[in-house]
């Protein structure tokens, strides 16, 4: 009996860790490159999820077909958000203020639209991989394993992309010295668009993969948004490695609190941890303050 709880806590930790990591990756990328706090990240998450749901329930296509559609639609939504609401204020003094309020406004509109189109009942998004295993009384689902694998794979992919690819290096260059990047013939504004679209795709993918774990409703974008924000800041704003590590640290912490103290204390526990962390080490694990780059 004793080790079932331990295994449940550890597996829960790994699963939560991957979930948080997946959510935070997109947010960290956008903050690192564009210095934009994208509070619409949660909204794009449910755009992906609802699209996948719509493809499965209305077009009656398998989830495997719905996954890419969800990701593409989420990325497109992010791109359109960039063109309409981010690009016009790039480089302007009121950038932080305008983008903060604009992204909040958009997230409200998205959940309102979801309410109108899909009405408030909970929706079920089928998992990509069904079935599960039983280990010492702990249920480990295939979808869970898929999420862990995808999360780790995406972190590696993004890391390699940023480190070695032409577009990846350009994104880092723009984030560190915008003027110099222009002098290297890097189209700064379009690079911002690329980063925001990529982060939209990541949020969409997270939406499709994670929806089976909880019931999809118009306001189910808010919690992942908060969790992603916590992980991003806990890991040090803009640090991809930080987000990965912080995701697992918080995931394991929440899982252990949930198993040993009860579910009700999970969320408050995380918030108390983050408040303490902000007081003691405001720049996060890997961050060196607001200036942190990718």
């Amino acid at each position: 009996m004793y080790n079932t709880q331990l295994v449940q806590a550890v597996w829960g930790g790994i699963l939560f860790g991957s979930v948080y990591g997946l959510m935070a990756l997109g947010l960290t990328l956008v903050w690192g490159a564009v210095r934009l706090l994208n509070l619409a990240h949660g909204a794009i998450f449910i755009v992906g999820a609802y699209t996948a749901y719509w493809v499965v329930s209305t077009l009656h296509l398998p989830i495997l077909a719905a996954l890419p559609v969800g990701v593409v639609v989420a990325a497109t939504f992010a791109g359109v958000m960039h063109v309409l609401f981010i690009r016009p204020v790039i480089g302007k003094t009121g950038f932080d203020n305008a983008t903060l309020v604009a992204t909040i406004g958009l997230s409200i509109s998205v959940s309102a639209a979801a309410l109108i189109i899909f009405n408030p009942e909970y929706k079920v998004v089928p998992p990509v991989l069904g079935g599960s295993h039983n280990m010492v009384g702990v249920q480990i689902t295939n979808q869970g394993l898929l999420v862990v694998a995808t999360s780790l794979a995406l972190f590696a992919l993004v890391y390699l992309f940023l480190t070695y690819s032409r577009q990846g290096m350009a994104i880092r260059a723009v984030s560190q010295q915008r003027d110099a990047a222009s002098l290297m013939s890097i189209p700064v504004v379009r690079t911002y668009g690329v980063v925001i679209a990529i982060s939209g795709a990541l949020a969409g993918l997270a939406g499709v993969l994670l929806s089976p774990f909880f019931f999809l409703n118009p306001s189910s974008g808010f919690n992942p948004m908060i969790q992603a924000l916590i992980v991003t800041i806990f890991g040090g704003l803009g640090s991809v490695r930080g987000a990965l590590v912080a995701g697992f640290v918080l995931g394991i912490f929440e899982s252990f609190v949930e198993v040993y103290l009860g579910v009700a204390w999970a969320l408050p526990g995380v918030f108390l941890l983050i408040i303490l962390m902000l007081i003691v080490r405001p720049n996060g694990l890997f961050g060196i303050g607001e200036v942190r780059r990718l």
């Binding site: 903050w31 204020v89 604009a102 406004g105 409200i108 924000l229 408040i275 902000l278 007081i279």
Partner: protein, 358 residues
């Protein structure tokens, strides 16, 4: 060791330019007139058949304006992105709700504790916030919002009332008077709170405290090196903002004899944000104007149901990007530039002749 003006006789002793000064004199006439109108209005409205509905709307306007003004004080003037305002409103509401409902206090007594506790809560989260910058403040205050919401829903029975909030809170004991009479009394209480809050906020904005707050927003290092104690100034600001927000929370709990956990929903947040953004970020009249416009819009658009939140979200986003000073100031600037009367001669921005050749 002051700097004597012995240095080169300044021609005539220059005077402070009233126009440039951070303090304002308002004509008592206008303020008096508005107050008088406010006092008389309910008696007139009640006569109309839809009068009661309009008085209810005005009460809603007073309370929303108080919360919007308080939030604007922190975010617009102080440049601190705090998302704790709704939670502070809830703290005020729950405080007086619990005291009146569970302990049987007289609402007029319990409501006094609403702002006190809200201010205490604000100072509690204010302290760590002062050492943080921008993004972190957003997170810390959102965390406080979430913590309060979770506590209100899953907290002890006498707080959470089964997860939906307090549903049977005694209203203000106004004696057994007719419905209209009762509504008018409620209106006067709301107007009282609104007037006091507006006056105090006006006094704060056009005072050294207000100047210190905007100085810290414009350039913190520069302000601090001119003698401004950023912790003290910002804590006072937090306290004032939370005081009136908590008071409004307390009033609304007794006015609607209950407070539901739906107060924490994001749509409440967007309403308040819309008021500040539409009315004018970091201006005195902005949130008041915004409150009126948004409430008016809400009523007009009530027909389209859920589309209202959809429309409001997009409108707020568009205004934030394309009219950063707020819809109203932008419209007024367009009016002044294109349609308005000839602008009075440009300010003396050009070189001052007495200084010697530029």
């Amino acid at each position: 060791m002051s700097v004597p003006a012995a240095v080169g006789a300044a021609p005539a002793r220059p005077q402070a330019d009233r126009e440039a000064a951070p303090w304002r004199r308002t004509s008592l006439g206008t303020v008096g007139g508005v107050l008088l109108l406010g006092l008389v209005l309910p008696w007139l409205l009640v006569r109309l058949d839809i009068g009661n509905f309009l008085v209810v709307l005005l009460i809603l306007f007073f309370m929303q304006a108080v919360v919007a003004q308080s939030w604007n004080l922190i975010m617009g003037y102080g440049g601190i992105y705090s998302f704790a305002q709704v939670a502070l409103f809830a703290v005020g509401g729950w405080t007086t709700g619990v005291l009146a409902h569970s302990l049987g206090w007289n609402p007029f007594a319990s409501i006094l504790f609403a702002p006190v506790l809200a201010t205490a809560a604000a100072l509690l989260i204010g302290l760590p916030t002062l050492r943080l910058r921008g993004t972190y403040v957003v997170l810390l205050t959102l965390a406080f919002h979430e913590l309060s919401r979770v506590f209100a829903i899953t907290g002890p029975r006498f707080i959470s009332g089964g997860g939906y909030g307090l549903t049977i809170v005694p209203g203000f004991p106004l004696g057994n008077v007719g419905n209209d009479q009762r509504l008018i009394y409620l209106y006067y209480i709301a107007m009282g709170i609104f007037s006091v809050a507006t006056f105090v906020i006006w006094r704060v904005i056009y005072s050294p405290l207000g100047v210190a707050v905007t100085a810290l927003r414009d350039s913190e290092t520069y302000a601090v090196s001119r003698g401004i104690d950023q912790f003290r100034v910002r804590l006072v600001l937090f306290a004032i903002s939370a005081f009136f927000t908590g008071l409004a929370g307390g009033y609304m709990t007794h006015y609607s004899t209950g407070i539901s956990t739906s107060v924490f929903d994001l749509s409440r947040l967007i309403d308040l944000l819309a008021m500040i953004v539409i009315g004018g970020w970091g201006t005195f009249m902005g949130p008041i104007l915004g409150a009126g416009i948004v409430i008016g819009l809400d009523q007009a658009l009530v027909g389209i149901g859920d589309f209202r939140a959809l429309a409001e979200g997009v409108i707020v986003a568009l205004i934030a990007v394309f009219a950063p000073q707020g819809l109203w100031p932008t419209l007024r600037r367009i009016y002044d530039r294109y349609l308005g009367p000839e602008p009075e001669p440009a300010g003396q921005a050009e070189a001052d002749p007495t200084v010697g050749g530029e």
